[in-house]
Each structure stands twice: as structure tokens, then as C-alpha cells.
């Protein structure tokens, strides 16, 4: 179960297996792990030691070879190859050298112990040591090759390994025994404890766990006993509390039932109130409707009021020419009578008989009746009357143009023309109080309701004249900018206080005396400009200096 798992899942799985082991097994596992660790450590140490020993043997082999080379020189010079063989054999008795061979400069074997000592030890490739044999005066005169024997090293290592294995087996036995003892020491009291706990769990609250040991488990047992005592006590108390609680619950239930019925009553009441509120709401909606109706009525009245104002002006204007037309007409009636009389005289049908009168008589009658004067005056009278009638006609035409009764709805119109006709209508209102300066710019035609816009201009112009106390100036400026038509109407009147500026376009807001204004004029203006023509209206004003109303209308091409 400790085999290395390549995948993480497998590692987790093996961790789970370890967790599920009993304490006994866990302790065994720990001990085994330690033993395994020491086994690996021991193996490693022995291998390392072998390396070191082999290295030492090689070093020593090199030194020995150097010595052999040193004395071989003299033997070669003496041609005493038998001696070489002898001391090679002598040296080869030593355990460190497997065999050695001496060559001369021509690579001929002078002496070797190879054949005699072949079986002496393991000859390994890297254990071959070659060294030249030199003479100080003759240079290189030969070569010696020694092959090392590692038998001694290997024997040493095997002995070491054997010792270690014996030690390891003994240690394993001791460790196993100790692990078993430790596991038992832990698990025995645990089992006793578990037995006690099991009894208590089954309801035997009077069972007392005996003192199992003096360590932590013993403490757990003691604590368990105390806990069991406490539990017993607590259970008793609990029983008592439960009874008390039952009483309390009963009482509380009764109370709750009562409040519940109270609540139900309250709910019913609330429902009644809700009905009433709904009724009120209906009433309010109706009132609102009525109010809306009243508002439209008032708007109509305002229209009528401005119409009245207009009518008054128009009446005045018409009255004048009509007056002198009528006076001329009565004069002309007199003249006609006179002319009739003269005609009678002329045709002899006068008072004196049927004969025509003499030219002298006729001449005197003519003088008496001022016939010549009449003939002189008549064309004058007709001319004057015609002029008067012309004026009346003109007024009526303007009125028509103003009201545009014949062309309701949206049509292409020239705003400058609208302003001009409006001015004619309200001229009567303005002419005594102010001079009007016109600064008309070139404007494109735009699709609009001329009737409504005329109403707007009337309102603004009349307001401007009302603002002027004695005598002032009204300037009308028009221009086109950013595909919009702008109309600015400024006056040199009293101005509007700042606190009123914001409320100016509110319906029913007025500063005039009660009965003089409805307070709807500017709100209607506002509606016409912003709602009906998607335009804007702004005011700037300074008390004592005057006000400027600016209207901007987007150009709508027909």
C-alpha cells in the first residue's frame, strides 16, 4: 500500500487507505518506513564506501607501479629478465595487484605474471595501469602494465554488507516487537474506553469507565466519566425544564391564538378602509378629469379674451372709416336731393307751372341750390368713401390672415410674414406706447401652424407693450442659425423679477390684478412652441431694463 503512485488520484487513494488503517497498523507502518529508510541509507553507504575503497586501491596501484618501474630500469639494463619475473612474482603475492607485465622499448614482453596469476582476482578494464620505464640517460627503455585486483575491496564490502544485513534483521525484530508493544499500550486502554462509551451510548448512564491508564487516554476516560456525570445531571434538569416549557408553550399558544383573532379583525378593518380609499381614489380621478375640462375651458376663455382684445382694437379701427363713410353718405344723400330739385326746375316741372323756366331763373336756382359746388364736392366725397371702405377691407383681410380661418393646420409659411400680419392686428395696442424696430433676417419657409404662431406673437407683443409704462421701444429680430429659425422680441419695459422667471410658463401664474389676466397666455405660448413645433423658448430679463423672449423653431421642409 506504500508503493509509489504515479497519478495524484492514486496518491490520494493510498492516503485514504493509510487513514483507514487501525492505530496498530499505522504504528507498524511507521516502523516499517523507518526500517526501509535505513535499508536504503545502508545500501547507499556501502556502495559509496566501495567506490572510495576502489579509488584508494587505484591510487595505491599507481604508486606500486611507479616503484616497479623504478627498479625495472636497472634490471632491463642488466638484461636480467629472470630477476624481473622473480620480483614481479614477489610483488604479485600482494593482494592488491592481479598481475603485471614488463615490456621493452620494442613492445616485447620481458616478463609477466599473467599466466601464473590469472585467476587471482577480478580484472577490470579501468584497473589497468600503464607506466613507462625511464632511464635518466637512455630515456624510455620499456613499459610496465599492472592490473589491479579488487578482490580485497570486494571482500571488505561483502563483509560490511553481511554485517549490515545481520544488524538490519536484528533491528527489524526489535523494532517489530517494540511497535507491537506500543500499539498494544495505546489500543488496549482505547478498547476499554470504547467499551465504556458504547455502554453509556446504549443508555446505561450509571456505568463507570475504570481507570485505564495514566496517559492522555486515561485522561480521556476520566473526562468521559465526568462528562457522563454531567450528562446525567443535565438530563435530569432537562426533564424538569421540559415540563416547565410545556406549560409555557400552552400559555403562549393561547396568547398567540388570541392575537391571531385580533389580527384577523384588524385585517378585516383594513380591507374596509381599502375599499374607502379606492372610492376616494375614484373621486379624485373624476375631479382630476373635471379639472382638466375646466382647464381647457379656461384656455378657451383666454383665447376668447385675446379675441375680445383684438375685437376692441379692430372695432376702433373700423369705426373711424365707417364714421366718415356714413357722414359722407348722408352729405351725398342731401346733394342728391338738391340735384333732383334742380332737375325738376330744368325740365319745367317746377312749382311755377309746367313751362320750362327761363335760363335766368334756372341760373338763380342753380346758384341757390349750389349745384356747382355739389358737382365739385361729389367726386371728393366718393373718393373719400372709397378710401374708407378700402381701409375697412384691408382690416378685415388682416383679421382673416391673422386667424387663418381658411387655412387651418400645418402649411409652409414665412415667419416674417406672420410677424408682419400680427403686427398689423395689434398695432392699435402698440402705437401710442412704443416705437417698433424690425430687424428681419432672411428666413426659409417652414412647415408650421401659422394660426398658432400668430397667437404666440400676439401674446408676446401685447405682453411687451404692457411691460412698458409710458413710452418705449420694441425690437423684433429674426435670423436663421443651425437650420433653426430664431425670433427675439425685446422690450425696454419694467423687466421680470428673478424669482418669477422660473414660474413664467406655469399655467395660471400671473402678476396682474385678479380679473385682468388668466395667467394662461405664456403657458399656451410655451405649449405651442415646445409641444406643437418642437422648438424652444427662453427668457432673459433685468428689472428696470427690459426682457428678451427668444423663440427657436427647427426648420421643417414641406
Amino acid at each position: 500500500m506504500l508503493r509509489p503512485a504515479p497519478g495524484e488520484q492514486q496518491t490520494e487513494a493510498s492516503m485514504q487507505i493509510v487513514k483507514n488503517l487501525s492505530i496498530n497498523r499505522k504504528i507498524m507502518l511507521i516502523m516499517l518506513t523507518f526500517l526501509g529508510f535505513f535499508l536504503i541509507l545502508g545500501g547507499h553507504t556501502i556502495l559509496r564506501e566501495r567506490e572510495v575503497l576502489m579509488e584508494l586501491a587505484k591510487e595505491r596501484g599507481k604508486m606500486i607501479t611507479a616503484y616497479l618501474a623504478e627498479i625495472s630500469g636497472d634490471a632491463i639494463k642488466n638484461y636480467d629478465f629472470d630477476l624481473i619475473h622473480k620480483y614481479l612474482m614477489d610483488v604479485a603475492k600482494d593482494e592488491e595487484i592481479a598481475f603485471a607485465t614488463v615490456y621493452d622499448a620494442g613492445n616485447n614482453v620481458l616478463a609477466t605474471t599473467r599466466d601464473e596469476l590469472r585467476d587471482k582476482g577480478i580484472a577490470e578494464k579501468e584497473s589497468l595501469i600503464v607506466r613507462p620505464i625511464r632511464s635518466e640517460t637512455l630515456g624510455e627503455i620499456g613499459r610496465i602494465e599492472t592490473t589491479l585486483s579488487f578482490r580485497k575491496v570486494n571482500e571488505q564490502i561483502w563483509r560490511r554488507a553481511l554485517n549490515y544485513t545481520i544488524f538490519f534483521i536484528l533491528a527489524g525484530m526489535v523494532v517489530g516487537f517494540v511497535a507491537r508493544r506500543i500499539a498494544l499500550a495505546i489500543t488496549r486502554p482505547l478498547h476499554l474506553l470504547i467499551e465504556g462509551i458504547e455502554k453509556v451510548r446504549k443508555g446505561d448512564l450509571d456505568f463507570k469507565v475504570q481507570k485505564v491508564s495514566r496517559d492522555e487516554i486515561g485522561l480521556v476516560g476520566q473526562a468521559f466519566n465526568e462528562m457522563r456525570e454531567k450528562l446525567k445531571e443535565t438530563l435530569g434538569e432537562l426533564q424538569h425544564h421540559r415540563q416547565h416549557l410545556e406549560v409555557l408553550v400552552e400559555r403562549r399558544t393561547a396568547e398567540l391564538e388570541k392575537s391571531n383573532s385580533d389580527l384577523l379583525e384588524a385585517q378585516e378593518e383594513l380591507l374596509c378602509q381599502k375599499d374607502e380609499i379606492e372610492k376616494n381614489h375614484h373621486k379624485l380621478v373624476e375631479t382630476f378629469k373635471q379639472l382638466k375640462q375646466s382647464q381647457s375651458t379656461i384656455v378657451q376663455q383666454e383665447k376668447m379674451a385675446s379675441l375680445g382684445q383684438l375685437a376692441a382694437g379692430v372695432a376702433h379701427e373700423i369705426n373711424n372709416p365707417v364714421g366718415f363713410i356714413m357722414s359722407n353718405m348722408s352729405t351725398m344723400a342731401k346733394y342728391i336731393d338738391r340735384l333732383k330739385e334742380f332737375d325738376t326746375h330744368q325740365s319745367g316741372a317746377g312749382m311755377s307751372g309746367t313751362t320750362p323756366e327761363s335760363p335766368e331763373e334756372l341760373q338763380s336756382v342753380r346758384k341757390k341750390l349750389k349745384v356747382d359746388y355739389i358737382f365739385e364736392d361729389l367726386p371728393q366725397l366718393v373718393k373719400e368713401s372709397l378710401e374708407g371702405a378700402e381701409r375697412v377691407k384691408e382690416i378685415v383681410q388682416n383679421l382673416k390672415a391673422f386667424s387663418r380661418l381658411d387655412e387651418a393646420g400645418y402649411k409652409l409659411a414665412d415667419i416674417n410674414e406672420c410677424l408682419e400680419s400680427t403686427l398689423k392686428i395689434v398695432w392699435n395696442e402698440l402705437k401710442y406706447k412704443c416705437t417698433v424696430v424690425k430687424e428681419y433676417g432672411e428666413l426659409p419657409l417652414t412647415l408650421c401652424s401659422a394660426q398658432q404662431l400668430n397667437q404666440v406673437f400676439v401674446n408676446l407683443l401685447v405682453n411687451a407693450s404692457h411691460a412698458i409704462e409710458k413710452h418705449g421701444e420694441i425690437t423684433i429680430r429674426t435670423w436663421e442659425e443651425k437650420s433653426a429659425i430664431h425670433v427675439a422680441i425685446s422690450d425696454t419695459g419694467c423687466g421680470i423679477p428673478e424669482e418669477n422667471l422660473n414660474r413664467l410658463f406655469e399655467p395660471f401664474f400671473t402678476t396682474k390684478e385678479i380679473g385682468k389676466g388668466t395667467g394662461l397666455g405664456l403657458s399656451i405660448v410655451y405649449d405651442i412652441v415646445t409641444k406643437n413645433h418642437k422648438g424652444e423658448i427662453t427668457v432673459t430679463s433685468e428689472v428696470g431694463r427690459g426682457s428678451i423672449f427668444t423663440i427657436s423653431l427647427p426648420v421643417v421642409e414641406g
Partner: protein
């Protein structure tokens, strides 16, 4: 025999410390190594073995240049003392130019000394050297130990042979340099006789010996 190359102006001289097993040959070389100046010698080659025995040999080289420019190299060897390494002993002894025989002064070792000396005589003959001609000195070592042969007796035995005898304690360090000095002065005579060191290379015995035995100043 000596290696000598007149053209290259090189000369190699071989000296051998001979003697029975455990008589102190290696200790002699170690002391020479310690006591003599570093300038004129190389490093000591010693192959350590268990139980303090030399299986192969030890080697201490010395260097010396004559006023003529002749480069002389002295190789001082020891031999393995044990009987069974006779072949190695023979190999070392070949072409020796001088021999120091190290004897053990302990009475109990007298027989071994004699046997070893006989062995020396025999081996010299085998490798073709004449014991009468090879420069030879004898050292009685281990004078610091009890139960040793008294000096008079040594003188009495060795006196007639004409071979110079030195007393020494290699372990304590005395007598070692003296033995070496005695040996090289004798070797000089042999070399001078054959190669004319004084005549050809202006190297006299005194400076030869002194150069080889300059002690480290303490």
C-alpha cells in the same frame, strides 16, 4: 653500475640501505629527510603498509651540481628486510654504487643481522657486484634500547674487516647523518677514481660530502 652520460653531463648514483627486517632502514631515510636541507633533495617516496613493514622499498633522491655543470642525482633506496622479499631486494640492489648495512643492536637480533649480511654478500654476487669494491658502511642502530650489544664487542667483531661502523639511534635521530656522510665520502672516492670528479669536474670530496649533508639550521 653508475649511469653516466658525459655529453649530457648527467650522472645518477644509486645507494642502498640494506639490513634485516625491522632494523630501521626506513626510519633512517625519514630522519635524513627531516634533518637535511630541502634544497638539495627531492621528496621521500614511502609506501605505507600495515605493521610498519616495507614490502617494496623507499626512495629518497638528492641533487647536486658540480662546478663543471655536471648534474649528479643520488637515489637512496631501502630494501624490504623480510626474507620472502628476496627477489625485490635483489632488484633494488642491482647496479648499486654504495651500500649502508643497518644492523639491529639488540642481542636477540644478532643471528638475523648475520643472516642478512650473508644475504647481502650473496645477492651482491648474484647482481654482479664485488663486495670488496662496493663502498660499504655498517650502522648499529637502536642504541637507545636496552639489551644491546656493547660497543667494544662490535668494534672487536667488525674492526678486522676494515668496514667503518657507526652507532646510531634513528628513532632519536643521532648517528643517522654521520652514517650517510661516511657512505657518500666513500662513494666519492670510488666515483673520483673512475670518472675523475676533481680533475674533470673540479668537485672535491669535501664539498661533495658537505653539499649532500647540509643540515637544516635549527
Amino acid at each position: 653500475m653508475i649511469e653516466y652520460d658525459e655529453q649530457e653531463k648527467r650522472m645518477v648514483v644509486k645507494l642502498v640501505y640494506y639490513g634485516p627486517a625491522l632494523s630501521g632502514k626506513t626510519t633512517n631515510l625519514l630522519k635524513l629527510h627531516d634533518l637535511l636541507s630541502r634544497e638539495d633533495r627531492g621528496d621521500l617516496m614511502v609506501l605505507d603498509t600495515k605493521d610498519d613493514r616495507t614490502i617494496y622499498f623507499d626512495l629518497l633522491p638528492f641533487f647536486l651540481v658540480a662546478p663543471s655543470g655536471l648534474k649528479i642525482k643520488l637515489k637512496v633506496f631501502t630494501v624490504p628486510g623480510q626474507v620472502r622479499h628476496d627477489a625485490t631486494r635483489k632488484a633494488v640492489l642491482q647496479r648499486a654504487d654504495g651500500v649502508a648495512f643497518i644492523a639491529d643492536s639488540q642481542k636477540a637480533e644478532a643471528a638475523n643481522n648475520a643472516e642478512s649480511f650473508e644475504n647481502l654478500e650473496k645477492n651482491l654476487a648474484i647482481v654482479g657486484l664485488d663486495i670488496e669494491k662496493v663502498p660499504l658502511v655498517v650502522q648499529f642502530n637502536k642504541r637507545d634500547l636496552p639489551e644491546i650489544l656493547p660497543e667494544e664487542e662490535i668494534r672487536r667483531i667488525w674492526g678486522p674487516s676494515g668496514i667503518p661502523v657507526q652507532l646510531a639511534s634513528a628513532l632519536e635521530g643521532w648517528g643517522v647523518v654521520e652514517t650517510f656522510r661516511e657512505l657518500v665520502s666513500r662513494v666519492y672516492l670510488a666515483l673520483d677514481h673512475r670518472y675523475g670528479l676533481l680533475a674533470n669536474h673540479r668537485l672535491d670530496q669535501h664539498s661533495f660530502v658537505d653539499k649532500l649533508t647540509t643540515e637544516v639550521k635549527r
